[in-house]
Symmetry: C2
Subunit: 292 residues, 2 copies
Amino acid sequence: MTYCVAMRVESGLVFLSDSRTNAGVDQVSTFRKMTVYENPGDRMLVLMTAGNLSISQSVRQLIAERINDSGRNIWNAATMHEAAQVVGDAVRAVYERDARALREFGIDFNISIIFGGQIRGERSRLFQVYAAGNFIESHDEALYFQIGEAKYGKPIIDRVLTRATSLDEAAKCALVSMDSTLRSNISCGLPLDLLIYENDKLAVSRFVNIDEKNQYFQMIRSSWGQQLKRIFEGIADPVWNATSESEANALATAGGRAEPLRVAPPQSMLRPDAHPAPPQTLAQQTPDRQQG
Amino acid sequence: MTYCVAMRVESGLVFLSDSRTNAGVDQVSTFRKMTVYENPGDRMLVLMTAGNLSISQSVRQLIAERINDSGRNIWNAATMHEAAQVVGDAVRAVYERDARALREFGIDFNISIIFGGQIRGERSRLFQVYAAGNFIESHDEALYFQIGEAKYGKPIIDRVLTRATSLDEAAKCALVSMDSTLRSNISCGLPLDLLIYENDKLAVSRFVNIDEKNQYFQMIRSSWGQQLKRIFEGIADPVWNATSESEANALATAGGRAEPLRVAPPQSMLRPDAHPAPPQTLAQQTPDRQQG
């Protein structure tokens, strides 16, 4: 389904997308999800899409060519908010054209968009545009947006990203987030597009297309996995029969009365030598159960 | 929505479930998702459910009380495969009773089940039962099942779990997987049920109900997060202008020709002092762009 993530930190913006597209497991292909609209010195805008590919392509087409009723387009919008409306309007125009026919085939009008960048005269901004053409904006408490297969890669971002994170650190974070996703879901795949934008540059700062041979990404992939295993092995084993709850690494206490929800067997099913299931303390390591 | 995970390793089984249930953000409650059917010396079976709560409860009710046509039930099934069929039959019976009425209200017949344990005479086994009452079994290449909000917690399991993992290590892995999920999705919450089963014991080995005060789980939550940040900060920063692709930490090379997909501005939009967008090398740290 794809995975795209964008982050807004103090010094600028980071955008990362994959490029796998599929119409089922026997029809897998590549399509780059990131498009850049750059007029150096005036504006630098990045669009990333997830969802139905034909809708994504039509939206791009309309944004690139369309002057709407008020003559407003992606190149003359005065603010990012206006530019986001241009994107939203394009989505609505595609909806008008295609939604009903798609519905006839049981296909949802499925598209989600990340749109960010900077227009001369204001600060850098980041938006998420929905299939209905409306949108929300990121702010200091919501530093990132994800679209597509977002869940696998969310925990690491939640743990690591802050406003003070540098652009290189945010890029690392995005790459680790993408690595978790690539390992766990085959609808996402290489190559990746990674774009860094430094505030007030009004042009792309850095860009790289990452394939299987990219040395840095391979290093992240193997290094992150190895180190995760190492800290995992370093976590102390639980103590199941601690003398008190405050003992180090106490998971359960000896004599603790924790019980799972049980269904007791019918009396007739009990083995002759077995005892009926009494309330029992199970948080003990010794094989003999305490009889009630 | 809940999150439950079960793992089958060489020495036994690990089961972990949360207990949050909700019918919207203003109706959040607690319901334990794990049920134990234990006849010591004969069988130890664990059932975990995710999905529609009324369906889950009805399935439990039927399993506990129902003798089906052949007189087969959870207590006399000769194998885990038969016992899984008892569970599947209960799901189908609830479907017969409730599915149509639910559909009238636009509600899907949504239930997923993890079912595992051991019956005397065969090895421990682990199954996932679907809403249609059919099921699949875990094997040496598929060591775990997840139901509910599974995606956040999947990457760590994929990185760490093997057949040779000890029961305590597998329990740690499940707790870290749950921690990632709890942080990222508010439809899952404490307390947790954690059950360990050692092969051939034919009774629960260890059980604990984990709440906010549990010392070990709090240690995992804070320790894991801190150590993740530490190894993250230890990852080398990328080199954007490497002399060659094989240079250490080379993300992009100086003079690299990687380009994002661009849409060029119309000639009329260009600022008088700006150059039209040529093919450019952007993978450079210096602010001056190379003019084409």
